[in-house]
């Protein structure tokens, strides 16, 4: 039996031989004893091998699928958390920007920090310890001829003028002058009435807008309420007076 015949026999046994070659192999099996024995041995070995048990796999497929799923999930967790964090931060920034860009809100915020003319004129009451008076101008800079102080270690001190001021002129504390007592019932006239002497050539713009600022509006309302209260009190006092006079009569 040649090698070519043997290979054809193997393919025939395996069922992979082409139809055209089948007839040739069948003729070979009929005439060759060795070919027949060969096929029998192949069948015997195969049947024996097929009785061999396959070992239990113990869920390797499931393990592989779980491992693959886990390897896909883990890399996605971190970017999602990052994206959410970045998106939240961006949304917050955009929200603040939009809020600030709205005109009424901006005005109301500005009103909170806006100093009205009345408050500007009023002296600021600051505790004595907190009052720091600026150093006199002659102490602000060192004379140019004076050599710079050298530290003991030999290294030169490279101080800027602002730092020098801090070293040479410590802040001088000054006692506060007594604040003039201002009665809330009699507000000080902040705007002097225009007289021919004081009247300027050009009209003075007191306020750019007719809109009252927060503090100004509060004061005006308080003053209006006080005047109403006074009037009512006065009326009640007069009524009581009249009743007492009637009773004494």
């Amino acid at each position: 039996m040649t090698t070519e015949e043997r290979d054809q026999l193997l393919l025939f046994w395996s069922g992979e031989l082409e139809d055209a070659a089948n007839q040739t192999v069948c003729e070979l099996i009929d005439r060759d004893e060795e070919a027949r024995r060969y096929l029998e041995e192949l069948g015997g070995v195969e049947s024996l091998i097929q009785t061999l048990p396959d070992p239990p796999a113990r869920g390797i497929a499931a393990r592989a699928l779980n491992a693959e799923a886990a390897s896909k999930v883990v890399p996605f967790r971190v970017p999602i958390a990052r994206v959410i964090g970045i998106a939240a931060a961006v949304a917050l920034l955009v929200g603040i920007t939009v809020l600030l860009s709205i005109q009424p809100v901006r005005e109301s915020i500005a009103e909170l920090f806006h100093a009205s003319p009345e408050t500007e004129n009023k002296p600021l009451i600051v505790p004595e310890e907190e009052q720091i008076v600026e150093a006199p101008p002659q102490l602000k800079e060192l004379p140019k001829e004076q050599p710079e102080p050298v530290p003991e270690s030999g290294k030169s001190m490279d101080l800027r003028p602002s730092e020098r001021v801090a070293v040479e002129s410590p802040p001088i504390r000054k006692p506060i002058e007594p604040v003039p007592d201002v009665s809330p019932l009699e507000p000080m006239p902040l705007i002097k009435p225009l007289t021919p002497e004081t009247k300027p050539e050009k009209p003075v713009i007191i306020a750019k807008t007719t809109r009252r600022t927060g503090f100004e509006a509060f004061e005006t309302e308080a003053a209006e309420e006080e005047s109403e209260f006074d009037q009512r009190l006065r009326e009640a006092w007069d009524r009581a007076k009249r009743i007492r006079e009637q009773l004494t009569e």
């Binding site: 290979d7 061999l52 048990p53 390797i60 393990r63």
Partner: protein
């Protein structure tokens, strides 16, 4: 009702991305593949590692799978490549005394299994384990796993004539060994 074809399971998985279809597919072949890999690697742990890695690779490659109705040879090819990688890193095959015998003694504890039959199987496993690697692979793939010679040639990356030659040699060795045992 017949089992769902491999190709249908793959199509369902690709449509729905439901891994349960792949699980059915993999579980259909995992025992056969593990047996092949144990006989090839002579070590159960290496075989399990190779099979798990093969399944992972197959899952990743399934969206690109083109060979309809050739899944068996395709998964064998992947498993075979994994086993070859392990053999390459190992340098040489470390033959164990009775790799399959220990498997059988561990799992074939069924009282119905007759002692004689068990001894015969052990002898057969020994005979297969003593075959040269290339011949053993061909024998197991063809006679145990039922792959065609053409598929084995693709998996092995060699010509069909080489595969047929290996099969012929392996058959000769096995027949001689079995004759020795029976005599």
């Amino acid at each position: 009702m017949g089992a769902v074809r491999d190709g249908e399971l793959i199509e369902k998985f690709l449509e729905t991305k439901d891994v349960s279809h792949v699980r059915v597919l993999f579980e259909r072949y995992e025992s056969q593949l593990l047996g092949y890999l144990i006989r090839l690697l002579q070590n159960r742990h290496d075989a399990e590692d190779a099979l798990q890695e093969a399944f992972c690779k197959a899952l990743r490659a399934l969206p690109k799978y083109q060979e309809s109705n050739q899944f068996k040879s395709w998964i064998y090819r992947i498993a075979h490549n994994e086993a070859m990688n392990i053999l390459r890193t190992r340098g040489k095959v470390e033959l164990q005394a009775d790799p399959i015998e220990s498997e059988l003694s561990e799992h074939a504890d069924d009282a119905a299994v007759e002692l004689i039959q068990r001894e015969d199987l052990e002898q057969l496993e020994k005979a297969i384990a003593e075959l040269p690697d290339a011949e053993r692979r061909v024998v197991v793939m063809r006679m145990k796993s039922g792959l065609a010679f053409k598929e084995i040639a693709v998996i092995e990356g060699c010509s069909i004539n080489t595969v047929l030659g290996r099969m012929h040699n392996a058959k000769g060795r096995l027949s001689a060994r079995l004759r020795e045992v029976t005599s």
